[in-house]
Structure formats: C-alpha cells, structure tokens
C-alpha cells in the first residue's frame, strides 16, 4: 500500500520530502485526470492541509501567491491592474469547478506546454520560491519551467509560492486565450503581455510571452525590444518577432495556424494595452 500524508505544517511537509519520495498533491485537477486508466504505485504528500500557504498577500511592492491559492482565490483577491492578466487567465481555466479546486502553483509545477498560467507568470516576471528542509531558494519562472512537464524542482523540494513584483509606475497586463469552444477548453494558443508606462503613455518596460507554441511558454525578446519607448501599436508586432516559437501539429490545430493565431493574439493584446479600460495602476 502507498503512503498518504496530509501534514498541517510546513516543517512536517518538508521533513516528509526529506525522508522519502512523494508525489505532491494539491488541487488534484492535473493529478487525477492523469490516472483515469491506470494508477501508478506512489506515495502521496497532500499539501492541502497547509493553512500557512493559503492566503494571497498584496504588498506595496509585490504580490505573494502561495502554493494553496486557487484560481478562484486569484479572481477574488482584488489584484491590481498590473496583474490583471492572471485574473483573466483564472477566469478562462476549465469551468468554475476546476477554478475552485485548482491552484496556480499546481498549474506551474505540472508544466504543461498549454498551461495558461505560465505565460502570464513569465510576463509578470514572477519568481518561484522553493523550500527543502533547512533551505530556501528563488528562481525566475523562466528558469523553473524547463520543458514539457519538466521543472527545476528537486524531488525533495516544495514550491512555496510565487512573488510577483509590483511596478512603481503605471502598469497593466493583458491575457488573450484562443480555444475552440467557450468553456472547458485547452488553449490552442495564449499570449500574455505586461507593460509599464511612461507618464505620456509610451511603454517603459514590456514582457511578452506565448504559450502552446513550443515545449514550454516563451518570452519574445525581439517583440519586447520593438515596443520599448513606443505607444502600444499593433502594427509594431511583426511576424519575425515570433521566430523563437516552434509550434506543432496536434488534434487542436496545425502548426501554421498556431503561428498565425499567435501573431493575431499578440496584436490584439498590444491594442488592448493601449485601450483606456480603467486607469493603469
């Protein structure tokens, strides 16, 4: 029989990880669907009892998304406009049943190329905080997600949460998801942009990321450079900016389509950056 642990404190959880190999279980929304036909023999560390990792915190300079924060919690947290893309991504995850159980960190750790959260976290310049017994470290999301279902997490490490910096000046982020139906849909392509603005509305800093177009979500540095110092203008987005992408053909869409759709979504996202929807904070 397998072991099932549901610790209530972080030290207990980390001690368990130090002592043995566990499959970490959080909202279980990736865990169970991967075990419809067969369940491997495994020991489970269920982290849902870790109350200390539940509350989202919004500080003046950063936002803390802990491991147990669900997508629903993200929607309800009252996040600032700089993190609006994360809220938009949350609303587009599965249906509300999934949003109520699934966590942002689980989405990140599962590291699916089609995970909606990851391009957003890249655009928001989030940092992952990991812990093992007696040691903590931080990694940028780009260094944490290594590939299709591969992360930099060591087997004895637990992800504690994410730090999302809050820019000092006006900032805004947007998320665009394309799926083949209205709800419960895995993205064909999704893009996230996060921008900081100069007082006159020109772009002071920009991060752009695209998901489902490579084995992991990618930042588009050429696009970011092209928009720097400019007003948000969709015409500035060029096909060449998408060169790093390497989409594939699958049941959801062809590679050529993904590339074309990513370009369109990026242009729309840039246009939305420039729209006066509420004031950027």
């Amino acid at each position: 029989m397998g072991l099932y642990l549901r610790p209530e404190t972080l030290p207990d959880a980390l001690s368990a990880l130090a002592a043995g190999r566990y499959t970490i279980l959080s909202g279980a929304t990736d865990h169970f669907p991967a075990r419809v036909l067969a369940t491997p023999a495994e020991d489970i560390l269920d982290i849902s009892g870790l109350a200390e990792l539940a509350a989202i915190r919004i500080d003046a300079d950063r936002i803390w998304i802990p491991a147990r924060a669900t997508w629903r919690a993200v929607i309800d947290a009252g996040l600032p406009a700089s993190a609006a893309a994360l809220v938009a991504a949350a609303r587009g995850i599965g249906g509300q049943q999934v949003q109520n159980a699934a966590t942002v960190i689980g989405n990140l750790c599962n590291a699916s190329p089609a995970a909606d959260g990851i391009p957003v976290l890249l655009a928001l310049d989030a940092e992952v905080e990991l812990a093992r017994l007696g040691e903590r470290r931080r990694l940028p999301v780009a260094e944490f997600v290594l590939g299709n279902r591969r992360t930099a997490r060591a087997p004895d490490e637990l992800v504690l949460g994410l730090h999302i910096p809050r820019p000092a000046g006006p900032a805004r982020s947007v998320f665009e998801k394309l799926g083949a139906r209205a709800y419960l849909v895995i993205s064909i392509v999704m893009v996230a942009l996060a921008a900081e603005f100069l007082p006159d509305g020109r772009i002071a800093a920009l991060r752009a990321a695209v998901g489902a177009c490579a084995s992991r979500a990618l930042r588009l540095s050429a696009l970011e450079a092209a928009l720097l110092g400019r007003f948000p203008d969709p015409a500035l987005v060029a096909a060449e900016h998408l060169a790093p992408l390497s989409p594939i053909d699958d049941a959801r869409a062809s590679a050529a389509y993904r590339r074309a759709a990513a370009l369109t979504l990026l242009r729309r996202a840039v246009a939305r950056l420039g729209e006066p929807e509420g004031s950027p904070t």
Partner: protein, 920 residues
C-alpha cells in the same frame, strides 16, 4: 496494491455528520456512490471534463471525481440528494422540471449543483453569469437553452405551477420520469449493482488499428493475481459473430487472431475490481503483429488489404436511387453547381458511459444495462450465447443519452457470457476512454454532388455520389447506405436524379447509428448546392428553396407521391421574416465593420423519412385495467431522454379519454412488455404512438362494451372503480369484481395496438415507398466569423419544424434544441480521431457558452397517418443545422467550407488561400 491504508474521515454530508474509514485517495465521487450509496452524483469521465459529478464543497462547486476523500476532512459536502427543502424539491429543481431542462437526466445533478452554487452567491444572475457558472457541466441532450431558462426562472422566484388544464395531447406536461431525474434517484446503468458478491469484468482491447495477435497461456497471470477468477477468450463464445442485419453479422464479441480496429475487444478478465485494476496491460499474454491499416482514403484501391472475405473491394454495400435521365436534366439546365464535401467521425458523447450487469437465474440470463433496443439485444444475445430468446431477459436501465450509440451491443455480450459461464453476477462500467474507443461513431463521408436548374429557377437534375467509412464492421452501415440516396437531393422536386452511396470497410472504429443515419452529411453537400444555384440565378436563397420545395401531391425521386403534411412550404414561409431581418442586420454590420469580424446568415432545409427504410418496423403496445382499478400502459419503447414515456402516455390518455395522470407505465422489460421496436429513426412518437393510440382505443371500446355505453361516453377512474357516464347516466364498473377474469398480465380489461408503417421495399433503382411519413424543417443560422483567427460564433438559430402535431411542445422544443447543439458541434468542432481524442477534453462538444439563443417555430399540419397527426422530430432536429452554419460562413466570408468540422485552422487556411488567389 495501489490503494492507501484506510484513514478516519469526518465530514458533513447534506447536513448530517458522517464518520467513516476510507482510502484517503478515493475520489469523492466513488466515496459517495460506492461507499455511501448516494448515486445521484454521476460519473461521466473521471477527469473533470464533463461536470456530471459536480457537488458543493463548503458551498462551492467542485468535481467530485477530482477531490480525494482525504481533502474533505472537516468540510461540508452537498449533493443532489441534499437539495430538497423540508422533504420537497427545491424551487430550482421545480424550475428544471417545469422547463423540461432534464432530458436523459445524467447531467442534471451536476447542472443543479452548479446552479445552486450560483444562486446561493448571486441570487439574481443574468444569463452571462448563468453560463459562467454552468460552463463546466456538459449536456449532450438539451442544447442548454431550457437549462438557462430554468435557472433564470428559479432566480426570478417564478414558482407558478402552470395550472395545467390538460395533460394529454398538446399539453406541456411535465415528464413522467422528471422527478427521478431532478432528484438523482433515476437508476442509470452504473447506479444499480447486483447483490454482492459479484464479479467485475475488464476488457483488454487492441492498441493497434490492424494487427494479428496470438494469445499466450494465462497460467502465470492467474497465479500472479489470485483475485483473477477467469480469462475469457473467443473460444468461450458459442457463436462469436453478431451484427444488426441478418446478413451482416460480421463482428466478433472477442477478436479471433486479427484485430480490425483500435479498441476492439480481444480478451476479458473476470475478478474483483481491485485485482482487475491492478493488472498491467503489459502483463497480458498477447503477442501483437501490427499490420498496415486500411484507411478510408485507400479502402477502395486494389492494393488495400481485404478486411472481410464477403466484401470484395472492402465494399460493405451500395445504395442507389435513380429517377428520370440525369444527363438530360443537366443538358437542359441554365445553371449548374458542384461540390465535394468530407466529414469526420463524430462521437455520440452521451454523458453516461456504458454500464450494467448480468446475472444468471436458473437457465435464464438477465441483463440490466443501457440500451435503445431491448428486443434486438435479447435476440442477438440469445444468438451469441446459443440460447433461445425467451431465456434472455433484457431490463433497460435509464439511458443517459443514446443518439444511436446505444443501438449496438456494447458490454452486454461479454457480461451475459461471463454470468452464464460462471453462474455469478458480473458488472462492468466503461471508462470514458473505453467508451469512446470501443463503441460506434457517425460515418465519415466523402461526397461529390452536382445540381442544376433551369432559367426559371426550377431544379432539373441532381447527381450524388457518397462514400461512407463504415469502419471495421457492418453495424448500421447498410441503413446509412440505404437512407442516404433517398434523401440526398433534399426536400425538393427534382425530375432527374442519380444518387449513389457506398459503405467501405476500413480499420477504423465501426461506424453505426447516429442521429440522422448519413443524412446530415449528405445535407452539407445538397444545401451548399442550393445556395450556389440560387446565387448563380441571382435569386434569393430562401425563395429559391421555396420554389422547389416538395409539396403535397409531388412525386419524390423514389416515385412516392407525398400526402398532406409535407409542409416545407409553411416552414420556409414562417422563416421569411426572420431571414429578411437577419440578412439586413448582417449587411448593416458588415458595412460598419472595420475589424476582422464578418457577419453572415445561412439557411438550410431538410426532410427525413420516419422509421425504417422500406422495411417493416412494427410496434406493439398493451394497455389495461388492473383489479385495483388502475390503468397500466405496457410500453417496450425505451425512453432515452427524449420523452417517449411521457409522450406515449399522453397519446394513450387522449385516446382513452382520461387524464394522463390516470395511467401508470410499465416500460421496456422484455419479460413485461411487447416489442415496440428500437428507439431510432425518429419512430417512437409516430410508430409506437400509433400503437399506443390503437391500444387505448381498443381498451376504451372494451370498457364501453362492458358498460354497454355509447361511444361518446366519458370515462373516469376513481376509488378503484371505472365510471362511465353519458347523458347524465353513470355506470360503475368494479374491476375488483372481475379479478377472476384477470389475464396473464394481471389485467381485467385490456386493449392491444400494433402499428407498422405502410411502406414497400425499394427496387434496384430505389423506386417504391420507403417511408409512410416524412418530417420537414428549415433552419436559419446567423454567425460572426473572426477572419483573423478563423473562429466562428453562432449568434442565433431560427428553426421552423413541421411536426404534424406537437404532442408535448416542451419536449419537441427540447429535441430541436438538442439536435441543433449537436449540429453545431458537427459543423464546428467535433472530430473523433482514434487514439488521439478518446476523452472529453480533446474531443470537444458544445458547452453552454457555444449554443446561441434558438427560436423554434412549430408548424403543425397534421400527418394523416400520425397519432393525432404527430410525426417524429428526434433526428430532423439535427440535420439542417450544420448546412445552415456552413452556408452562413460562406455568406459572411465568401469562402465555402467543405470539410466538417470547420475548425479555426481549416477556416483560416481557406481564407488565406482565397486572399492569395485574389492577389494573384
């Protein structure tokens, strides 16, 4: 063992404290169903994809299939069983009942729980909020519209129990089984278990589309797994061949040496559920030798492997309807159009995966499982087991959606065989991937068609060649090949017709029966041609169809002269105002549009013959009075959610002259009811409805005779007596006093009815009377196409259906909504690819957010043969939708989709190709 040591668990369930000892990694859905015996929570996928298992956890909706039991410690769970308030159904449940928001009912508990969460947190939601809240629950039956209405209605506090003046023909009567569906008490295939101990059954299936295989010895496997009771192979099966048609029995229950499709059953394991789950696929002693698969593209080529000795060229069968001289028709025409269309496999995607159990009772076998056709199952199982039909008893479970997919046997043969051989009860529940891999699909089609009209806009000629991929086995392939050429030219007068069809064997899953039997595929071609011809003539697309519409007295391509009730003209006339308004709106929006959105409106017509094609398909019903003075209708017609139980009772009540509530119903048990034929071909209202009417008329006559009363006398059943009154004189019959005369069914007075629609077999040119009645319909779709992404949003559907008589308008609308949702899926997203889309997140069906507002216009021009004028609507609902959407996309963009589904990548490729062509 892969389970975990049981741990103590305390939580609150529907307001009551529960303390139990369970595996903490048990899914909450299994805890509820298997351990706590609350089967109202349904399982459709075990993967979060369908929402059927939705429950409230601390007041918020979650998928019970994704919650480990360990996580509910100290929390509050509410299931559908906890919705009732003070022993009465909640206002929300009542609204579902009133609106007919539950058809088969398998999604209903999930829908109700999602709605309960919404209303608790937001008592006055708008439609968008309802969709957001219910977006995680799939429904394959209703098209969601009545569900949205019901939730909004419950929120508005509308508790008006529409004081029903009548519950017979024409009334929006609540479904007879509606309360069971909204309380979760309805027993679907997985909801009832045989008494313990029983064996579970697991099927080992081919991972290859085409392969030779050899079985090794099972001794090692048996030794390694003491809980493994037996392994069944083809050698255990008395007659290892079955199939729908007497001449088409080509499918083995377990493959013998060669597997012909991915998902085909090759072995069955019997034992306890845990043991079976633990056995790894790689430990099964089978040696596979993959062979090149025969595909639809190459099945007809000389190089293709021949899959069945009886089918040279891999041709299962051909169909043909020829009238006039098609060459002459084309020669004399002013305009011509042609088109080639291809379609995909479409999965039924009923939310209930196949489930049931069998048990041996002496020298008889009893099977409780989901089915659309208990009598065919009985006879087929008897054949497979080598028994007499009367040794087999089929007890249909409630069916959680069928759409044709439960017309073929699925788990019944192996369950029956296993129970027969072991003497023990045997249970099986298909997983979602197993259901999708193993069972039948809609036939993919490859169609070339051509049509012509004269300068006056009259159709002159129609040529149609349709190839259908029937997959590895015949199943209902002959039905498709036979039905398609009859319908291929659409509901129009065409003097010169040559329509041919062929069904090809391939190494794909067997294509079987699916709502419309090939006609939806054919309509995609035919209705495109109608638009092309109208455009070539400069005619309005609706008016062109109207001019050519079949009318009473017209002769079809089969040579049949249509009678009254052929009312396509009325459908089109009813649509004209909406057509003109929607067209004008789309034109205005296109003019104003500066972005990538383009708007379009499409129209399509359809006709559909009710019942089997040129073949006898009788139904028999019995109705009688018990000694206790109750009227009982014995109906073998299976209600698969469409409402046959309700409709047949309404018809019987009307004919008997009593309220429907006075009639009890005994349904679909082959020991208790007569053969009503299968629930398919839109035939139960028309065929079984007539049988019910005739039976009730016969009972009425018997009662009047016994009371010596005049034909106009009024009947009432009260306090165990039959009251017969006429001209102020009341005669009282006491059924209790007649108990000595009770017959084998326990009836003291009875009526029997039998109806077989008058048809004739078709000759080699397809001439004859294939159907006694046809349904007609026309639908309009308004779409918005995002030309930069290739996405299509259907914004509105207007559907005019000629139904003869709407026995129950709510149920008729429900059929139309549900058919439209499936048509929308066929048009835009549904594409089953074996091995790639065997689940409900890669195989997409429309969600609540994809189905637009639907306006239904019911045209009631009584069919002279229909019961109270009624005809069927089940399949007609779906057929016009996809062509209307395709025509709307063409209208919006100027490019014509020819491949279904028209996914964003396909449409964008078409748009790009057309712009680069213009640029050249």
């Amino acid at each position: 063992m892969k389970d975990f040591p049981a741990a103590r668990l305390r939580f609150t369930l529907n307001g009551h404290a529960v303390a139990t000892l369970v595996d903490p990694m048990l899914r909450l859905a299994d805890l509820l169903r298997d351990h706590l015996h609350l089967t109202g929570t349904k399982i459709g996928c075990n993967a979060g994809d369908c929402g059927a298992c939705t429950v409230l956890l601390d007041g918020r909706q979650v998928c019970a299939c994704l919650i480990p039991a360990g996580q509910i410690e100290g929390r509050a769970v509410v299931t559908v069983e906890g919705l009732a308030e003070n022993g009465r159904i909640s206002a929300l449940q009542a609204a579902f009942l009133r609106h007919g928001a539950a058809q088969c009912g398998i999604c209903t508990p999930g829908m109700l729980m999602a709605a309960a969460d919404l209303l608790a947190h937001r008592p006055h939601p708008d439609e968008a909020a309802v969709k957001d809240a219910l977006g995680g629950v799939l429904c394959r039956c209703t098209g969601y519209r009545k569900i949205v209405e019901a939730v909004l209605d419950a929120a508005a506090g509308d508790t008006v129990t529409a004081s029903m003046s009548s519950d017979t023909v024409g009334a929006r009567a609540e479904k007879i089984d509606g309360v069971a569906k909204i309380t979760g008490s309805e027993a679907f295939g997985a909801d009832r278990r045989p008494p313990a101990p029983f064996l579970s059954l697991r099927v080992i299936r081919s991972p290859h589309p085409h392969a030779r295989f050899a079985l090794g010895t099972t001794a090692a496997l048996m030794a390694a797994h003491p809980g493994l009771a037996r392994v069944l192979t083809a050698a255990d099966i008395p007659r290892n061949l079955y199939g729908i048609y007497p001449t088409g029995k080509d499918q083995p229950v377990l493959a013998e040496g060669v597997a012909r499709y991915r998902g085909e059953a090759v072995l069955a394991l019997l034992g306890d559920a845990e043991t079976l789950a633990d056995i790894a696929e790689r430990d099964i002693p089978i040696r596979w030798e993959p062979l090149p698969p025969v595909t639809f593209a190459d099945a007809a080529t000389p190089e293709a492997a021949q899959l069945h000795p009886h089918a040279p060229g891999n041709v299962l069968c051909r169909g043909r309807v020829v009238a006039g001289d098609v060459a002459q028709g084309f020669a004399g025409s002013a305009v011509r159009a042609e088109i080639a269309v291809t379609t995909s496999f479409v999965e039924h995607a009923y939310i209930e995966p196949e489930a049931g159990y069998a048990r041996r009772v002496g020298d008889r076998i009893e099977i409780f499982a989901c089915t659309q056709t208990p009598y065919m199952d009985r006879d087929e199982l008897a054949g497979i087991l080598g028994l007499r039909p009367d040794q087999v008893r089929v007890i249909p479970s409630a069916v959680g959606g069928g759409f044709g997919g439960k017309l073929d046997l699925s788990l019944q043969p192996l369950l029956s065989l296993a129970a027969w051989l072991t003497g023990q009860s045997v249970r099986q529940v298909y997983s979602r991937p197993e259901s999708m891999a193993a069972t039948t699909k809609r036939h993919p089609a490859r169609i070339r068609a051509e049509a012509a009209a004269d300068a006056q806009g009259r159709l002159t000629a129609f040529r149609f060649d349709g190839d259908f991929n029937t997959g590895a086995y015949a199943s209902w392939g002959p039905t498709v090949a036979g039905r398609v050429p009859v319908h291929a030219m659409g509901p129009y007068r065409v003097p010169h017709v040559a329509a041919h069809s062929a069904a090809f064997y391939t190494n794909d899953p067997p294509a079987g029966a699916f709502r419309g039997f090939g006609v939806p595929q054919a309509a995609l071609a035919g209705e495109a041609l109608m638009d092309q011809l109208a455009d070539a003539l400069g005619a309005d697309r609706l008016e062109f169809r109207l001019k050519n519409a079949l009318r009473p007295g017209d002769r079809t391509a089969c040579g049949q002269v249509l009678g009254a009730g052929a009312a396509l003209v009325s459908c089109l006339a009813a649509l004209r105002p909406a057509w003109q308004t929607l067209r004008a709106t789309a034109a205005r929006r296109n003019e104003a549009a500066s972005g990538p959105l383009r708007f379009g409106v499409g129209i399509a017509c359809m006709w559909y013959g009710i019942g089997n094609t040129g073949m006898s398909n009788p139904s028999e019903m019995v109705i009688g009075v018990t000694p206790a003075g109750r009227v009982v209708l014995f109906s073998g017609a299976v209600d698969i959610g469409q409402g046959a139980n309700t409709i047949l009772r309404q018809i019987a009540a009307e004919a008997l002259g009593v309220p429907a509530a006075a009639i009890d119903l005994v349904t679909g048990d082959t020991d208790l009811t007569r053969d009503a034929g299968k629930t398919s071909a839109s035939r139960q209202t028309f065929v079984s409805g007539n049988a019910a009417r005739l039976a009730a008329e016969a009972l009425r006559a018997a009662i009047l005779r016994a009371a010596n009363a005049a034909p106009e006398a009024r009947l009432a059943f009260r306090d165990g007596a039959i009251l017969v009154s006429h001209d102020g004189i009341e005669t009282r019959l006491a059924p209790a006093a007649m108990v000595a005369d009770a017959d084998a069914d326990g009836l003291v007075l009875r009526g029997e009815g039998r109806f077989d629609p008058p048809t004739t077999a078709l000759d080699e040119n397809g001439q004859g009377i294939p159907y006694a009645s046809y349904a007609f319909a026309a639908q309009i779709a308004a779409v918005a196409v995002d030309t930069a992404l290739g996405t299509t949003r259907v914004e509105r559907i207007v559907a005019a259906h000629e139904v003869g008589r709407a026995i129950n308008p709510t149920l008729v609308e429900g059929q139309i909504h549900g058919g439209i949702a499936q048509g929308l899926g066929l048009a835009l997203m549904e594409d089953y690819v074996p091995g790639r889309t065997e689940n409900l997140h890669d195989y997409l069906i429309p969600t609540i957010g994809d189905v637009p507002p639907i306006e239904v216009i019911l045209i009631e021009e009584a069919d002279p043969l229909g019961p109270f004028g009624a005809k069927g609507v089940g399949e007609p609902a779906l057929i016009a939708t996809a062509p209307a959407i395709f025509n709307a996309i063409a209208d919006a963009t100027g490019v014509r989709p020819t491949t279904a589904p028209c996914t964003p990548d396909r449409l964008l490729a078409l748009l790009h190709a057309s712009t680069s062509e213009t640029a050249r």
